[in-house]
Symmetry: C2
Subunit: 223 residues, 2 copies
DNA sequence: GAGCCGTTTCGGTGGGCACCGAACCGTCCC
DNA sequence: GGGACGGTTCGGTGCCCACCGAAACGGCTC
């Protein structure tokens, strides 16, 4: 009986299979229905039903290409909402060695929809603050070092209504903020292109390469 | 099978009674169990069960005083997560005149946990930006006008790990950001003390008083 | 065309849980 | 003290929905 239908959204996340699928899709990329079914450990038919509900609920969007069907989160605001929920969510007991090492990799570095998070994300954020690229209040200060790296930094925002160039994003493993927004997203894309960060396995986990370590220290003075 | 138990949190919000209670508690204040039961339109026994679950889930904290028991949201991060969810949640169809005028009042002005939101919130945010109290990237710039109003502004943050003095908070009715954080929260408290904003009814809705209109224009140059 | 494969739809089954009324407990007031 | 009242606990009922297998529906390949 409220103003918005919070409960409908809660029901979508209430199921562990759907929650797992959403967590997988937090990397912002497309995933096939079968891949999501395996991740959630349910039959393809069950996964299909879940995905239909997620789409009609507006959390996920689908794109059919050939005989495959690709799904991803519906937008950055959805990813932000899920991340802020994950911050509140209690830590889950780790079961087994494989998931333990997997979550350790996630803690070290991962993508958060379109930018970098985890230890790597906050290290990068702190380096950007020290180099005065952004302020400690997450405002863009000096974009020159980024432009030298080949990052496409758009013109400053003309109002508060646009998506911010830089904003703070809660990091649920580090329990603090890291840099998000248009500029950090562009930076993340560029770092992938340069080969300075690379994906670990097929999930969200990423790591800093040797060239990335050297390159970022050179560009920002520290890391 | 994820890293945190997102599904458990979703289950808490999945029930419409619990969701309504959480929406009521979004004002950050304490509410009695009976009041929340009436808001959700369920028997007191049912409400009690819901509140027990919300507490054990970490979303809500309770405080017994006398024969009453008061409940409120567990923290600002919980409120932020709920607000970001409400932004994603689809608009709900308005049923009846009473809820229509109530939601209209909410759109005009309301408290968002500890600061101001709605039309009033974004007008205030824009005035703060025009007056250069904060930047359009939600960083604190010049606290002098606030101190003249009697707002207690703490010293600048010494690192990125503390709760930010100012941050952007999504406004689900205005579909843009308004100012949140330590400073806007202190400002809201001060405006209540001055009588410049007052609550409308018993819920989250607030309105700007005549004295508030004049006082804020005087302090900030515009509104 | 036939065959394969990824995906979706459809019945049927089972478990979880929201709900209420009744009983119980603690606090306040006369 | 007794009575009223707010809140919680406890059984019992009924609904919602996650799950699977089987079958149908594309699209791709040979």
């Amino acid at each position: 009986m409220g103003d918005t239908d919070l409960a409908a959204l809660g029901r979508l996340l209430a199921d562990s299979s759907r929650a797992t699928m959403c967590t997988v899709m937090l990397d912002g990329r497309f995933h096939t229905a079968g891949e999501l079914a395996r991740a959630a450990e349910v039959a393809p038919s069950t996964a299909s039903e879940h995905l239909t509900r997620l789409v009609s609920g507006g959390l996920v969007e689908g794109d059919r290409q050939g005989r495959h069907r690709y799904y991803r989160l519906a937008g950055a605001d959805v990813a932000a909402a899920l991340e802020s929920l994950a911050l509140v969510a209690p830590e889950r007991a780790v079961t087994g060695l494989r998931s333990s090492s997997a979550s350790a990799a996630l803690r070290r570095g991962r993508t958060c929809y379109d930018h970098l998070a985890g230890e790597l994300g906050v290290r990068l954020t702190d380096a950007l603050i020290r180099r005065n690229v952004i302020t400690d209040e997450f405002a863009l200060a000096d974009a020159a070092p980024l432009r030298e790296l080949g990052v496409a930094v758009p013109a400053p925002a003309d109002g508060a209504s646009r998506r911010p160039l830089v904003r703070g994003c809660v990091d649920w493993t580090e329990r603090r903020h890291h840099a998000a927004g248009v500029v950090p997203a562009a930076l993340a894309t560029r770092l992938f292109d340069l080969g300075w960060v690379a994906r670990v396995g097929s999930g969200r986990a990423v790591r800093l390469t040797g060239a990335g370590e050297a390159g970022l220290v050179g560009a920002l003075g520290s890391l």
